[in-house]
Symmetry: C2
Subunit: 198 residues, 2 copies
């Protein structure tokens, strides 16, 4: 059965981006540090990371064989919409209060959805039995609050970023219990996978 | 050589206590959840956890064979000063702007120190080659900022607490790089050990 799985790189102090994020500075100041485990040279290189094998390669392979994407505008825009195709032509559901009809016309894989529950349900349906890749802190928070996130795949990075944007905020005082299902030690990242208990 | 090692239970979302902490509610609302890995029944039971073996027992054994303690008033007071003896009569250095002479007279193992660098240096000297157990979020933040914390031993708890007190705050925008040195999977806690790079 398809699960909705949040994939995020997070510093030990809980940040997924550095301070001063903007469209041109999508990871915030110094935020590239969180993605070094999947970089060669100056940029993220998923193919090279996959080929390198080990835990990091395994994680990238899982990530790149998901059957649909759910993300927010804050992830989609700085990534230039992944050129309209994140990987392998799988459907992309973008959580947004507004429609962006020009983008939908240009990029047929992209659908705007205003409600996180609908986004997850449609993505699961579209994923053809594969997992759904969920991306972005805002989307994660909405999905956790709505009870529609099935798993967390955290790439825990051995650094204290000190400032920036936190992955987990505004969740309220009710505890959300997690079940650890896998720990993989990669070079430069510890990959922690949890199932959300409901 | 002696290392200063922060031992703290932390939720995946970075909290070490629930909201509404007070002297009578030292862990904050629901904060006991973070210590269940070392509890039997209603309370923390280090002897039972040690006897249970496994990763949790190993961690408790390490914790209880440290040679000195450094903590802040926020840790020391709600614990009633551990009755003046945390374990085995090792010296206890409490970081505080104020002296508390009545307590020092009552508890000969306890010394008040106003500066984190001095506290760590004196504790290392007093530890007789063993590690120094460091405890408390405020103390951790001061020690990280001053560059006098050698290692972090985080008991990562599979729960999102949502609200409470965070371990890592007020650290500023300079990254602090960590070197992962050990991961142990215990029942109800993943024990992550890092060396602070300097």
């Amino acid at each position: 059965m398809s699960s909705t799985v949040l994939y995020m790189s997070m510093s030990l102090d809980g940040f997924i981006a550095g301070p001063n994020e903007s469209l041109e500075n999508g990871l915030g100041d110094g935020g590239h540090r969180l993605h070094e485990w999947a970089m060669t040279g100056d940029g993220v290189d998923l193919e090279a990371t996959s080929r390198s094998g080990g835990a990091n390669g395994k994680i990238v392979d899982e990530f790149m064989t998901t059957g649909a994407i759910v993300a927010g505008r804050g992830t989609f825009e700085p990534a230039d919409g992944w050129g309209g195709d994140h990987h392998d032509g799988v459907p992309i559901f973008i959580l947004s209060r507004d429609r962006h009809e020009a983008e939908e016309a240009k990029w047929p894989l992209v659908t705007y959805v205003s409600d996180v529950g609908t986004a997850m349900a449609r993505a699961k349906e579209a994923a053809g039995g594969k997992d759904v890749l969920v991306h972005g802190a805002g989307t994660a928070q909405l999905a956790l609050a709505a009870g529609v996130l099935d798993e967390l795949q955290i790439h825990l990075i051995p650094v204290l970023l000190g400032e920036g944007r936190r992955l987990f905020e505004h969740l309220g005082a009710d505890h959300i219990e997690l079940e650890p299902i896998r720990i993989l030690e990669g070079a430069g990242a510890t990959h922690l996978r949890y199932r959300v208990r409901r």
